[in-house]
Amino acid sequence: MADEIQVKTAAYICSGCGLGDKLDIAQLSKIAQKEGKMALVRDHTFLCNSEGVQMINDDIEKEGVTHVCIAACSRRAKTEAFHFPTVALTRTNLREGVIWVVAEGSEHDEVRQEMADDYVRMGCAELKKVKLPQGKLNADLQKRILVVGGGMSGLTAASEAAEAGYEVVIVEKQAQLGGWANRLWKRVPFSGAYAEPQDTGVAELAAKVSAHPRIKVHLNSTVAETSGAPGRFIVKVAQESGAVTEEAIGAIVQATGFTTYDIARLPELGGGQANVIDQAGLEALAQTANGGVLKRADGKEIKSVVFLQCAGQRDETGKHLAYCSGHCCATSIKQAMYFKDANPETDTVVMYTDLRVPGMGEDFYRSAQNKGVIFTKGKASAVEASGDACKVNFRDLILDEDASLDADLVVLATGQVPSAGVDLDAWNKVVAEAEGGSDSAKQNKSEMQKTSILNLTYRQGPDMPQFRHGFADSHFICFPYETRRTGIYAAGPVRRPMDMLQATTDATGAALKAIQAVENASLGRAAHPRSGDLSYPMVRLEGCTQCKRCTVECPFGAIDEDERRFPVFNQERCRRCGTCMGACPVRVISFENYSVDTVGSQLKAVEIPDEFSEKPRVLILACENDAYPALDMAGLSRTVYSAFVRVIPVRCLGSVNTIWITDALNSGYDGVMMMGCKKGDDYQCHFVKGSELAGYRMGKIGDTLTQMGLEPERVSSFEVAITDNERVAKFINDYVAQLVEMGPSPMKGFG
Amino acid sequence: MTKKNYAFYPGCSSQKGASASNFPISIGVVCEKLGIQLNEIPDWNCCGASIGYGEGGLLPRLAISARNLALTEQHLPGQDLVSGCPACWLSTRETAEKLHESSQLMSETNEALKAVDLEFKGTVKARHIVEVLVEDIGFDEMKAPVVKPLEGLKIAGYVGCQTNRPFGIAGESFENPQYLDRMIETVGAEAASDFDQKVTCCGGALAFSEPEKSQKQIRDIVESAYDNGADMIVTPCQLCQANVEVYQSEINKKQGTKFAMPVVYYSQLLTVAYGGSLKQAGLNGHVIQPEKLRKIASGQK
């Protein structure tokens, strides 16, 4: 359809915001016409006002304009004014990108004009290569939400989604809903006065969910297979008995919770002894006591109990969990209260190195102290069985001495271990070995498959990628609920250690995200961070060499493989980052409005002065998430940087195809700067892996550059955060100075 | 001007011939000028101060302060009990508050008070004379009677502990209360604003039992006053006045210093500024003579 439209291009140059004072608008118009080959060129003194916008709209309606280039302010400014949804649109940045960053003074007029001239060339060149994305509307898509796990997190997500009007399917592996909450005698209070343990509320919530007309519950069930994409997932739910039901699903919330760290792995703290239990074990004793005095498994009434915090957690030796599970101090306080409430004479000691009761937990702590619970700052070194009871040996950290405590019962506050399924790094290794023919690897693979939670048929593996310490990855810094699988959201302790109250709010957030996902899918739109994007990757399969790079490198596992080993693009799973485009060595992947050509044509449109001009040219590929805004911000704060750079925004550094670098160098650019978000463990890359992949790919081009007779420093990367408006100017200026010292590129004049 | 009536609790140190006997003279002059009528509580007794706890148990100490409160209720009904001494203030107010909180302690205390035919009904508020001056009178009113501004004097406002903590004056910060500095300015003198030992303890009762420790505190206080160019130290507390003044000679003897920093009461500054004589200001009652203040009081330049 789009190909049949008669293309008519138009460029609009604004002279407002000082553009008319600093630049020769007439010259820009001439360039748009003669070099840009725009069918229509107009300028206006105040393009974003109603008159200017009307002018453009009139041209679209009456002059049949289908492609609009606006040469004015940054694409990030005036988006409501310059909203032309029926035409393809490019915006070239003359304000934040030129007049606000080039040094003041008439001695800089020449280079300022040259910069503006180039940007107009670039805007027009890009315009000729873009199409207005049509999107793929699909009203038939599913909006049902699958919740995997029926504990507090799952029940909350289900309940919230159902109340919002969506159908929900819950899959719970046990015979009843409720998860861990079923096993608690009481919970830490959710509301004021935060002084007493409260009823868990799980029975009520489970009943509400079971009775809800929009919620379907599968008990004794697991997810046997998940295939498809947001809006069109097909989920096979397997009952314990063997029966399999197929559910059509729009989005998935994984609320599969946690298991407790195995107490048997803590023999030095008494794990394995009869009178040493974990917090889960204590809840069982409390449930049996039912409000009366708590008794041990052997029936003896517990007169003295010691709680050891951070058991097998916050461990720096690498033997146990490295992190803090967040809830356990409040849980021990609650459990100490079980004893005091039943019998105030019970000796209860909570032994800690740091007591963590954030927020209103402080009131709960005070309440426990009021009841006579003793808090001792100490580090336990060993728990021995002593006759019928236990002896805790420890270092008292306030009195600075070694001491010991006798107790009828010792409770270890062990940590949460997420039930996140298969670790994809381990999986991919095993799969590679299995494909290589190893029988033991094949065996391994089927064993691992059994532990999978979602059993995704995705090529990248059967579960969600895990981040640190085995928790389901979510983009903690920018989008806390987003995972690396579009349409699948982690909620509750499977995402990070948390307590029950936090789990309920987490689950509510995940439910909202799931709803957002199904609505977006039905509109053919992308989710975060390119919300509303209608473009999607299009592949010229006849050129594909089946190298698998796109499939393997997609941060979101959006690409599967068909039986002929060609990539299968699942548009609804795609975040439109373009990493696949960047990966493809034969450049067969593109988006309607973002392709190898749209960027390539821009960089080739720039006029490169010869090597005697003393006017270097540096290409900056800046990711639109953090780097480009930082550059805009530099403009806003009138921070000066070199007028010799030409900036092209890219969706993510992951989408940078090496051909752009090659073309730039061949064209005679003296250097290429790639600016993107932080990578690594504390990543800020909005597409999680893009920045990292770019770094990895660029690491390989050093040899190519040397072969071309170029210094490897001519291509460099910089990590830029959105707050780096001063720093980014410094990077640019330092880099340009470095290049000037290196001398002009020997490739000039050959392009 | 109608006088404001307060039940006055002078405290043992303000008795005639006692260690703070030059205080009540000046506070009397100040109150006269400001329209405050101090009605001494008949047959008041000692409050136990900050050292009574050693031998006196809780109930005996509550009883002795309750006696003062009950006497006020009986003889000076409707009047606040105003102490001249901070320790008296703290003992009395803490007693009143404790008895308010615990009906059991209240009934037990009144049991004991039966021996003196008294009953404390809990209607009396326990305050300090500085509190009355700052909160009820105010700095503007305090300034009105000034006829001899203490020009040229730089004074370190040593608030100390017990007028400041735990109750404080007029809701001021515990860490840097300003009321004494403001009083200094009210009388036309300059307050040493960087006097960093403003709320440091002088050692209190432990000046007797732990002389070295207390004298270390006193040394810091006096040194800071000197470092800040102060001509004298002003204080609201009778024990601080005695300790900081009287032990300077000891410190000089043991540590070779040459301290001779006069220590005066705020009421003495006010009296001189109001035109009072040497006698009225109690300026004959000092071990280290406050020469500059004496000069102003006697009209010499």
Binding site: - | S21, N45, R67, P166, A205, S209
Partner: protein
């Protein structure tokens, strides 16, 4: 001295803490301490305490009865109230310290010859006689508490201060003959005795 029940106390069990709660002034607050240490850091005589208030609270919780009660730490308190205004849990630390000191004194466990303990006793006995403090008698009783010879020595050492105060009319040698008193000094004594009796009864019952 009251004959309190002294059971053998297993370390870290609540008995001493309970004892303090029931018998020491404001003792019920000890369990609320969160061990932040601001009290210890704020005390003007802080480095003179064998065990700072923070540590004392922990020792009480640890059942270290003897170490706490025989310590001279609490007697270092000058009643400056710095700890009280800064404690984030609002413990009335000054009063708890005084309470512990008094309790140790009553039990006869406070260190013998502890100077503050001794002058505190002298002070109270002085005021208990007449309802008012006789400063001269108090000073003399302080100087002579360690015997006659030492008394003469102390008095001589302080003579210049004494003379200075006498000149300032802030020390009255005539107080030796009587000094100020309450008119109802008999009633006053009876009142104190009655109060003490009620208190002993309460404590006796609790043991």
């Amino acid at each position: 001295m009251n004959d309190f029940n002294r059971q053998a106390v297993a370390p870290y069990h609540n008995n001493f803490l309970r004892e303090v709660e029931e018998r020491v002034e404001d003792g019920e607050w000890v369990k609320m301490c969160m061990q932040c240490g601001v009290c210890a850091g704020s005390c003007p005589l802080g480095n003179a305490w064998q065990h700072t208030p923070q540590k004392l609270f922990m020792m009480i919780r640890a059942g270290k009865r003897d170490e706490v009660l025989t310590s001279d730490s609490m007697w270092m308190c000058t009643s400056c109230y710095n700890c009280i205004v800064r404690c984030p849990r609002k413990l009335p630390i000054t009063h708890i310290m005084h309470g512990l000191a008094h309790y140790a004194h009553r039990l006869g466990m406070a260190p013998k010859g502890q100077p503050t303990r001794e002058i505190a006793k002298l002070f109270w006995n002085n005021l208990a006689k007449t309802g008012r403090i006789n400063e001269l008698k108090f000073s003399l009783s302080m100087y002579f508490k360690d015997g006659f010879i030492q008394g003469i020595r102390n008095a001589l050492a302080m003579r210049s201060i004494g003379i200075g105060l006498m000149k300032a009319k802030r020390l009255n040698p005539m107080e030796l003959l009587g000094g100020h008193k309450c008119k109802d000094k008999d009633g006053f004594r009876k009142m104190i005795a009655r109060a003490r009796e009620i208190e002993e009864r309460k404590l006796g019952k609790a043991s």
